[in-house]
Each structure stands twice: as structure tokens, then as C-alpha cells.
């Protein structure tokens, strides 16, 4: 409400002001901007036309509005009238007071002129009197001045005659400062009159001065003298016009030499890195060493401050020297970082450097050493973080590669399990150690690091991000899936040189799952706890470590690697089956006598898979009831009977109706999902492998044409497979379906599909089973 009321009020006031100002304005044209006379706003302009305005108003408004307008206008007119009246009154009163003031002024001025003339006369008389005094004293003053000048001259002459002896005294008492002061004082006189009246004096004092110069030089270059003394000497020499430019160069060279001693040696740092391993022995000499180092740095700083006093021009040179020192320090640090160095040791080194820098900064703040070293330290730390992660990566891949070797030797019972546990440990322990290590960097209150704290936590986070990414790449490299062309050529060659083991792929897959489910959350937690958000990175870039993305990547990696593992296994079986189906001439196959040995190989392969899987993967949650106690033969003969019925029937009918029948059967049978999602469980992996192999078997069968015996051979092989497969596979329906499909495919591709007689089939299978059990004693 208030706002609404205010607006028209303000409006009114403004209009009033405008009107008044236009009234007083000298030039009516400066009035407010001319507005279109055709609108109702034209009332305030000079070009206001009352008739037009009325017309417009009448046209535009209805009665109510007109009435309202009328009321408004009447009120406004009244307001304006009173305002005008008030203004007129005010002006009038001002006029009156002004005339009063003018009248008073006139009466005051009248008597002033006479007073002024009196004043002028008095001033004139004062001036004439003071002139008289001045002239009377002038002569005496000139005389006094003359006498004074003569006296001064005489004193100077006396001083010059005394100079040689005085210099001699000074030399004796080593008061070179005084000597130089005297000599330089006398120098202008010697220059003016040295060839005439004061020749002897000049010679004598020059001799004395040359002695002084010699002494001073000696002092300057003698190391035994204190820096202050040397500085003094240098200053004096300079005052004596001695060519001092060559001096600083010589001295700086000396300083540079001493710098060499100050450099931190990589050995020292390595010594330092030995220290934590050997706390009893290493600590003492190290701290002694550090103390010594500090002492020499202090000396260096003093020297610098002295030199600055002595040679103000040499500042640039000194800055360069100091920066060189810092650069060298950091070079050694970088070398250390390249090697493996723990944060604690790095800290020790950095701390030494920082104290050095602070000391030097005190005397040489122009060199901006702290900023300089901050930058260098930033680089060094960054490198350190990068190299630490690099080593972690190497550690993990080393552990993984060991799988290759150790499982080849097959010395251990469960090489894969061992490898998985080892690599899990390496990963988690490694990253925890790394975090702990970096935590030290953060906790330290070293000035250098405090400023870098935000950066460090960003780098660590970034480091983890990059590390996991690199690990991801490495996994695929190790699994041999990617013929990576980009990086790590050496390692690629190593990994590709020998054939990648299927087991390793499975380990990698499981490790990916572990990373996704355990490692990343742990690390995220740890980072959140001890590395409070960097923030230096800026929010537009988002956080440095994004666990969500990493988890997703590793989840997909786990799946891909698992698929890869299954693929590798099935590929082996495929090769086996391909040979099995391409070698014999199936159209001229002989009668089946026993189960073909390829079945053994197939089962062997499956067994290997199962043993791989058993070592590493968890068991599935819902396990089906397994018929472990039934010995299999009865079950197989029973199902046998059923099958025979079916095949017999289909045999008697024509093949066309057989096809129709299978189609119909498929219609009524629930569509068996053969290719389901693979999970990270033992059963799922084995089942998927078996399914894929059986599907391959079916496809191979479909590509061939069989005679009766060939078909019977297939029938026999499949029938035999039924029992052992059922014991390993969780999805029996799909298994049955696939096995049946193989037999159907074989019968479709058979010229004369007459199956084996059940008793013969049974007998052959029994024989094979007996042989099988003989070869592979049943393992519990």
C-alpha cells in the first residue's frame, strides 16, 4: 500500500518542482523534454494546448474517469496555488532583509578614510629611522667579516702542514677512518696549490695515504678480519678513489665457491631416508649434519648482508646467487622424488630448505626467495604425488604379474586366490599408506607447506583419480584385451610376450569389483576425513576425485573383464570343438564305440574354469538343490527313455512335421533365456561358460551333415555330458534345453536320423563313466 501511495505523491512533488524551476529558468527551452502534445502527459509542457487536451481527455475517458480527473486536477491546482503563494512571500521577506543590510553598510564606511591616512604617515617615519641605523653600523661589520675569513684560512694552512704527521699517527693507531677523512678534506687544496706552496706536504701525505691504501686492501682480502671491518675498508677505499669495481667480482667468486659446500647432497638425503629405518644409528649424525648445515647457511646469510652494505651495486648478483642455491636445493629434491622417498624424508629436506630460505630472505628480501621456493616446492610436491602413485601402480601390477609366473610354476595350491588377496592387500594397504604419508605433509606446520595445503589435498585427490584411471588402463593392458598403442610400450611387450592367462583376467575382474565396492569407498572416506576439500582448484572444475565416476568405471571394468574371462575360456572350447567337427568326415562316420575324447577335453576345460572360479569368486546366494547323492546313471537312463520316445516318434514321422513339432514345442515351452546377465558368482560364471560352449556346439553341428552313425555319436556324447554338466550348472532348464537343441540340430542335419538303442547308449555311457571315475577319483 505504502509504495502505491508514495508513487503518485512523488510524482506530484516532482512535477511541482519542474514547474517552479521552469518558472525561474532563464531559458524556457531548457524545460523538460517536449512530449507529444497529443497525449495526456502534455499538460506539463510549454506546448500545452488546453483545448486539445480537453478534447483528448473527452475522447479517451469515460465519465467516471473524467470526474476523477476533475477532482484530481482541482486538488492539484489548489496545491500549486498555495505553493506559489508561499514562494512569493518568502522572496518578499528576503528582499526586505537585503535592503536593511545595504543601509547599515553605507553608514559604517563614512569615517574610515581619515584613520587610514594617519596610519600611512606613521609607517613612513619608522622606515627612515631604520635606514639611519643600518648605514651607521655597516663599516664595522665589514671589518669583522674580513678578520674572520683570514683566521679560517690560517687554520686550514696549519691543518695541511700538520697533515702528514697526523696521517702517520693515524696509521700507527690504525684509525684509518680519520685518516681518510682528513686526507679527503685536504684534497681540494692539494689539487689547487699542490704544485706550488704545499708540494712537500702533498708528497708526504700521499705517501702516508698509499700506505693506508695498502693496509686497507690487505684488510679487505684477509679472511680473518670481521666482515664489518672489511666492509669499512671497502668503503674507505672507495672514498680514496681506489678502483673498487674489480673487488666485488673477486669477492663474489669466493662466495660462490663457498656455495658449493652449502649444497644439499643427495647422499645426505638418502642418509636422511635411511634414518627412519634405523632410528638408533641414523638420527644423531643426521641432526649433527643438519646443525652444521644451518651454521654454514647462517654464515652465508651474514656474508650476503655484509656484501650488500659494502657493494650496493652487487645486489643483482647476490640475488642470483641465492636463487641458484635454492634452485640447486630443489634440483636435489627432484632427484630424490624421482627415486622412492617417503613423505617424512621429503619433509625433513623441505624443512631444511625452508629454514635456509627464511634466513636468506631476512638479509635479501629483494630476491623474493619465499615465493620462488614456494613455486619450486609446488612443482616438487606435485612430482612427488605423481611418482608416489606411479610406484603404487607399479607395485600392484608387479603383484599381478607375479600371478603369471607363480601359477605357471603351479607351486602353490590356490595361486589365483593368493594373487587376488595379495593384490587386494597391495592396493588397499598401498593407498592407505599413501594417504597416511600425504597426511604428514598436511599436518606439518612448515610455512612452506601451510601455504600449499590446499594444493596438496587437491593433488592427492587428483592423484587418486589419475591413479584409478591408470589402473583401469593397466588392467585392460594386462588382460590383453586392448592392444594399447599409446603408453607403456615396455610393459605391453612384456604382457603380450607371453600369453595372458585366463586366471589373471579373472583376478583382475574380481579386483575391479573389490575396488568398486571396498577400496574406493574406503579411500573416499579417508580423503574426506583427512583431506578437507582443496578449494584451490575452483569449483567450476568440480571436485578432483569423483568416486562415483570411478565406481562406475570399475563396475563396468569388472563386468567386461569377467566377460573377457568367459570369452577366453569358451574360445578354448570353441577351438577344441572346431577341430572336433572339421576333422572327421561326418557323412562317412563309423558306428560309435565310445564317448569321444573331445568330451573329456571339454570337461577338463570346465574343471579348470571351475577351479579358477572356486578360488576367487563368491558362491551364489540362492543355490539350487544339487543331486550330489544320485550316482547319475539311473537318472540319465530315465531321461534317456523320454528322449528316445521323442526322437523315435519324430523319426517315424516325416522330417517336416518334426520341424513343425519343434516349433510347436518351442511355442509351448517357455522361451528359455539362454544368455542371461553374468554375475560375479561361481555358479553364474560356470553356467554362462557352459551355456556358451553348448551353443557353440549346436552351431558347429548345424554346419555339418551327418550319417546315421555320426548322429549317434553326437547323441552319445551329449547324453554323456548331461550328468556331469548338471552337477556344475545351476540353471538346469537352460542346460537341458541346450543339450536337446544340440541333438535336435544333429537330427535335422542327419541324412538318416535313427538314434541309438537305449540299452546300447546306456552301456556305452556306463563304460565311459567307469573309465572316467577310474581316471578322476571322485573328489568330495
Amino acid at each position: 500500500m505504502g509504495a502505491e501511495d508514495n508513487v503518485p505523491l512523488d510524482d506530484k512533488a516532482r512535477r511541482m518542482r519542474d514547474l517552479l524551476s521552469s518558472f525561474y529558468a532563464p531559458d524556457p527551452s531548457t524545460n523538460n523534454a517536449p512530449s507529444n502534445p497529443g497525449t495526456l502527459d502534455a499538460i506539463n509542457t510549454s506546448s500545452f494546448d488546453a483545448d486539445q487536451y480537453m478534447n483528448l481527455l473527452m475522447q479517451k475517458s469515460n465519465l467516471d474517469e473524467l470526474l476523477q480527473r476533475h477532482v484530481e486536477m482541482a486538488a492539484e491546482i489548489k496545491n500549486i496555488d498555495t505553493d506559489l503563494q508561499m514562494l512569493v512571500y518568502e522572496n518578499y521577506s528576503k528582499f526586505i532583509s537585503a535592503t536593511d543590510a545595504i543601509k547599515r553598510m553605507k553608514s559604517n564606511i563614512v569615517g574610515m578614510e581619515a584613520n587610514m591616512e594617519e596610519l600611512l604617515d606613521k609607517i613612513m617615519s619608522v622606515q627612515s629611522k631604520s635606514d639611519g641605523v643600518n648605514t651607521s653600523l655597516f663599516e664595522k661589520r665589514e671589518n669583522i667579516e674580513k678578520l674572520h675569513r683570514t683566521r679560517n684560512l690560517l687554520r686550514k694552512v696549519q691543518f695541511i702542514y700538520d697533515l702528514p704527521t697526523r696521517l702517520g699517527k693515524c696509521i700507527e693507531s690504525e684509525a684509518y677512518v680519520d685518516a681518510v677523512k682528513f686526507y679527503t678534506g685536504a684534497l681540494p687544496i692539494f689539487k689547487a696549490y699542490g704544485d706550488s706552496s704545499f708540494q712537500d706536504c702533498k708528497q708526504a701525505s700521499e705517501e702516508a695515504i698509499s700506505i693506508i691504501v695498502k693496509n686497507l686492501q690487505g684488510k679487505l682480502f684477509s679472511d680473518s678480519e670481521s666482515i664489518q671491518a672489511r666492509a669499512e675498508a671497502a668503503v674507505l677505499l672507495k672514498q680514496l678513489d681506489f678502483p673498487v669495481d674489480s673487488l666485488p667480482v673477486k669477492l663474489l667468486e669466493k662466495l660462490e665457491q663457498s656455495l658449493g659446500d652449502l649444497q644439499l647432497k643427495t647422499d645426505d638425503i638418502e642418509n636422511a631416508s635411511m634414518e627412519p629405518n634405523d632410528p638408533k644409528l641414523g638420527k644423531v649424525p643426521d641432526s649433527v649434519h643438519i646443525m652444521a648445515h644451518e651454521g654454514s647457511i647462517r654464515g652465508f646469510a651474514e656474508a650476503i648482508s655484509a656484501y650488500r652494505v659494502i657493494f650496493p651495486d652487487s645486489e643483482g648478483h647476490l640475488i642470483k646467487l641465492a636463487q641458484d642455491l635454492v634452485v640447486k636445493h630443489f634440483e636435489t629434491v627432484e632427484q630424490c622424488v624421482k627415486g622412492r622417498i617417503s613423505c617424512a624424508n621429503l619433509l625433513v629436506v623441505l624443512r631444511t630448505i625452508w629454514t635456509d630460505v627464511l634466513l636468506m630472505d631476512e638479509v635479501l628480501s629483494e630476491a623474493v626467495l619465499p615465493e620462488f621456493s614456494l613455486e619450486a616446492a609446488q612443482n616438487a610436491l606435485k612430482q612427488h604425488v605423481a611418482s608416489t602413485f606411479n610406484y603404487l601402480l607399479h607395485d600392484i601390477s608387479d603383484v599381478l604379474l607375479r600371478v603369471n609366473v607363480s601359477s605357471k610354476e603351479a607351486a602353490e595350491e590356490n595361486p589365483l586366490q593368493v594373487a587376488l588377496e595379495a593384490s587386494k592387500k597391495a592396493l588397499l594397504q598401498g593407498s592407505m599408506d599413501v594417504l597416511l604419508d600425504f597426511r604428514q605433509l598436511l599436518d606439518d606446520d612448515l610455512g612452506l607447506l601451510v601455504q600449499l595445503r590446499d594444493f596438496v589435498s587437491d593433488w592427492v585427490q587428483e592423484g587418486f583419480q589419475d591413479f584409478f584411471r591408470a589402473l583401469y588402463d593397466r588392467f585392460f593392458l594386462l588382460s590383453g584385451r586392448k592392444s594399447s598403442s599409446s603408453q607403456d610400450q615396455g610393459l605391453t611387450a612384456g604382457a603380450h610376450g607371453e600369453k595372458v592367462l585366463a586366471g589373471l583376467v579373472l583376478v583382475l575382474s574380481q579386483l575391479s569389483v573389490f575396488i568398486e565396492q571396498t577400496a574406493i569407498p574406503r579411500i573416499t572416506e579417508e580423503i574426506a576425513a583427512s583431506f578437507p576439500g582443496g578449494g584451490a582448484r575452483g569449483y567450476e572444475n568440480g571436485p578432483a576425485f569423483v568416486p562415483g565416476v570411478m565406481c562406475r568405471i570399475f563396475r563396468s571394468a569388472g563386468e567386461r573383464l569377467l566377460h573377457h574371462y568367459i570369452n577366453m575360456r569358451t574360445q578354448k572350447v570353441s577351438t577344441l570343438l572346431r577341430k572336433r567337427f572339421t576333422t572327421p568326415n561326418w557323412v562317412k562316420h563309423k558306428e560309435p564305440r565310445e564317448v569321444h575324447m573331445s568330451v573329456d577335453l571339454f570337461l577338463q576345460e570346465l574343471k579348470e574354469t571351475a577351479s579358477d572360479v572356486k578360488q576367487i569368486l563368491p558362491q551364489g546366494l540362492e543355490r539350487k538343490h544339487r543331486r550330489t547323492d544320485s550316482n547319475g546313471s539311473t537318472a540319465s537312463s530315465r531321461s534317456n527313455q523320454l528322449r528316445d520316445d521323442k526322437t523315435n516318434r519324430s523319426n517315424t514321422h516325416r522330417a517336416r512335421s518334426q520341424l513343425l513339432e519343434t516349433h510347436l514345442a518351442k511355442l509351448f515351452k517357455q522361451k528359455v533365456e539362454i544368455f542371461t546377465k553374468v554375475e560375479h558368482t561361481q555358479e553364474s560364471v560356470v553356467t554362462t561358460t557352459v551355456k556358451l560352449c553348448l551353443k557353440s556346439l549346436q552351431e558347429f553341428v548345424r554346419l555339418r551333415t551327418f550319417n546315421r552313425s555320426g548322429f549317434q555319436q553326437i547323441q552319445l556324447d551329449i547324453q554323456f555330458l548331461r550328468t556331469p554338466l548338471k552337477e556344475t550348472v545351476e540353471d538346469e532348464a537352460a542346460l537341458d534345453f541346450l543339450l536337446d537343441e544340440v541333438i535336435v540340430a544333429a537330427s535335422e542335419r542327419c541324412l538318416d536320423p535313427i538314434p541309438l538303442e537305449p540299452p546300447i547308449l546306456d552301456r556305452l555311457i556306463q563304460a565311459k563313466l567307469a573309465k572316467w571315475n577310474e581316471k578322476n577319483p571322485i573328489t568330495p
Binding site: I553, N567, S574, A655, R656, H663, E748, L751
Partner: protein, 355 residues
Amino acid sequence: MQGGSSGIGYGLKYQARCISDVKADTDHTSFLTGTLSLREENEVHLIRLSSGGTELICEGLFSHPNEIWDLASCPFDQRIFSTVFSTGESYGAAIWQIPELYGQLNSPQLERIASLDAHARKINCVLWWPSGRHDKLISIDDENLFLWTLDCSKKTAQVQSKQSSGMLHYLSGGAWDPHDINAVATTCESSVQFWDLRTMKKTNAVERAHIRNANYDMKNNHILVTAEDESGIHIWDLRKPKSPVKELPGHTHWTWAVSCNPEYDGLILSAGTDSTVNLWLAPTSAEEEATSESIAEPPAQHADPLLNSYSDYEDSVYGLAWSSREPWMFASLSYDGRVVVESVRPFLSRRVGVS
């Protein structure tokens, strides 16, 4: 990715493996397919998509003496096609001509123009040059590559040259380069070999095991797509045969057939024994590669090359053919004898950039 079955179906009486686009038929979208039945009388079906595009009509039904393992339509005469057939024990290949049809469907006999009967081994496929009229034919058996001269008017086919693939290389199939009339690729157990037909010499090879099928990109020279049993689909630039340009995951089980779209760049169909047909978009041109190769992005951020997966099949899909007349249509054939013609239009506009 599921979606209802949008395809138009057509059922064959028996199982079947091969389907071919009738390229020479410029008035209709038609396909030829032949059945694979060991013990029955096999048929060749000429199927035509109705003008409304809602139905598949059988335009001709011809009996064929043996089960058909490979069928290819002649690219310049819509009435001529080739088949590879088997009696179970022996193999043969022949060129057939569809007799003039007068609207009646009384199973007229196919006219055999020529028999390609110089083979001693199992014949795998017969190839026509895909890009136009050419009087040569290629047939591939397990061990040999034959170049035939075909004269349709005289109804003869003569072996012009023949080359053995060499010891231990069992050929399984091949593809004729649409850009080069003298270049042919053959697949064998451990590699893809490239031949120059003028000299009948091997010019190049890509070492890769278990390649099921190979297909040249019709639009881009030097690009070959291969389908492999276990390891999916690979796209090769033949100038750089060491490693593939691209890799697609393929199918859950074997990837059986692969086919590049004749019109749209990078559009690839694959058929697999997991009873699905997958539609991929994998452009191979250089600038595409440059943009997608941003290493900074995590791999998950890349656009999924899989546009769609057609999974409405009951059995393994072996036959696959793009229509060259309507390049957004394709026909697929599953082993149970079901032809499904689908349009990929819904997936085109979004990513391929074709309205």
C-alpha cells in the same frame, strides 16, 4: 532396447540360412531367399515388399533341387541369381534364371544357366561384383578361389583362372571389393587374405582368427568390416592392416554376419547366434575419430555405438541383407525360416544426421 516387433514377417517352410537383396530390381524392394532342408524339397522364394510397405508378398516360389547354403542375386539382372547347394555328401554351385512370370504362382521350374562345376571341395560361396555389370564371377571353396567368365546369353560359365589358397588355409568365405573390380577378400581360419584377380596373387593379409564374415563398406574405400566368432566386430582400414580402426562388442554368442549399409556412412548391421540383430553406428572417417578420441573423457562417456538390438527372433540369425533400393530397410533371416524386414528409420534421424 526391446520395443515391440516393428518388423514385417514372412515364414519359409523350412529352415534357411541365406537371404539376398535383389539389387537389380529398381521398382520394388525385393529379396531372394532359399531353404536349407536336408531331406525335403527345397524352395527359393522371391519376396517383395508391398507398395505400402506393410506386407511381404511372395512373388515367386521355385523349387530347388538341393538344400541351399549360399544364395546371391545378380546385381544387374533381377532374374538371375546364384546358389551353392549340397546334397549332404557333395556340393555344387549354379547360376539360375527365374522364368518370366505371368502372374501365376504355379511353381515353375528355375532355368539353370550354368553350373560352376569345377570344384572338388566343399563350396562356400559365390560372389558377384556388387557395384555393377561385370561378366565375372567368383566362387570360393575350401581351398581354391575360382574366377569364372559368365555369358548369360550363351548360358555358359568358364573358369578363367584358379588359385589355391595355400596349405593349411581353409577358406570359409569372401567379399568382393565394390570399389575395385580386381580386389577380393577371402576369410580363412587365421586371417583375411586379399587377392588381385589379374594376377591371382595375394596382395595383403589381416591376421585375425575365427573370422566368420567380412563385408566391404560400400561408401568408403579401404574399409572392411569383419565378424568374428567370439570377439565381436572389427572395422579395418586396409591401408593399416596391423590393428583394427574400431572394435564393436558384437553379440553374446557368435557374431555370424555383418553388413554395411549401402547408403549411410558407418551404419552396420550384425546378426548373431544369440538370436539378435544389432544395429551399430560406427563412423570411421578421420574427423570423427579425432573428436571421439578425447582421452580426458572417461570411456563411459563415449556415445554407445549400439543403436538398437532387434531381439524378436526364435533362433540364430544367419541371413542379413540391406535393401539397396530403400537403404533404411533390411531383411533378416533366422534359422527357423522366418524372414523379418525392418526399417531402421527411427534410429537414423537421431544420430546419423539423415532426415
